[in-house]
């Protein structure tokens, strides 16, 4: 059984070795001449705007919270999907209701404006 996973193991080993190796190797042989500009955080080549410790807009949290809640539905959908055929229409109905409840939540969120960025 386990041999089927062997290629994956090999791939992982190579990837890890390469990642670690390149970092370590560049440390060992690379030159170090730090300057203020070099030490500044990299922001896609743009000049810095304010401190990195700035407060993140609350909208991000809102998205995170929304994500947590709707993410969980997947946890319930998976087992249902596994026995989808055996449960038949009854299972579909039950799951439909489950989704329906979430849809009500979605409508609520939408109407409240939680999905709008601005």
């Amino acid at each position: 059984m386990l041999d089927t996973y062997l290629p994956i193991l090999v791939l992982i080993s190579i990837a890890v070795a390469f990642a670690i190796g390149s970092v370590v190797f560049s440390r060992l042989i690379g030159q170090k001449k730090p300057s203020a500009v070099k030490l500044a955080p990299y922001e896609c080549g743009m000049p810095l705007i304010g401190s990195a410790r700035e407060r993140v807009s609350v909208k991000f949290y809102l998205v995170a919270v929304t994500f947590i809640v709707f993410d969980i539905e997947v946890a319930f959908l998976y087992p249902w999907a596994v026995v989808f055929k055996q449960l038949g229409w009854y299972g579909a109905g039950a799951m439909g209701f489950f989704i329906f409840v979430l849809v009500i939540g979605l409508i609520y969120e939408w109407k409240k404006g939680a999905l709008e960025w601005e």
């Binding site: 609350v58 949290y61 995170a64 919270v65 947590i68 809640v69 969980i72 946890a75 319930f76 087992p79």
Partner: protein, 101 residues
Amino acid sequence: MSPTVYHYLTLSAILFSMGTIGVLTRRNAIVIFMCIELMLNAVNLSFIALSRHLGNLDGQIFVFFVMAVAAAEAAVGLALMITFFRNRESIEVDDINLLKW
């Protein structure tokens, strides 16, 4: 030696204790909440191990519910913490001290 249910239970107990100690020692409310999540997940580990050991599915079903509940709790908890932060500019539990005596 393959791991038996006792190993899982011991691991779960260790995780649970770590969570508990975290709740008692950390100052940041979010970290405290993460420690509580750790406790819940330790319990989940127990449930799964026991479910496998006993050969019945109740434990695994329970885990689904715990996960769902934990997510809902997280959502509500985060919301409460955000409002708290907006009022007090802090999320340290030592600042949650207006109501006492």
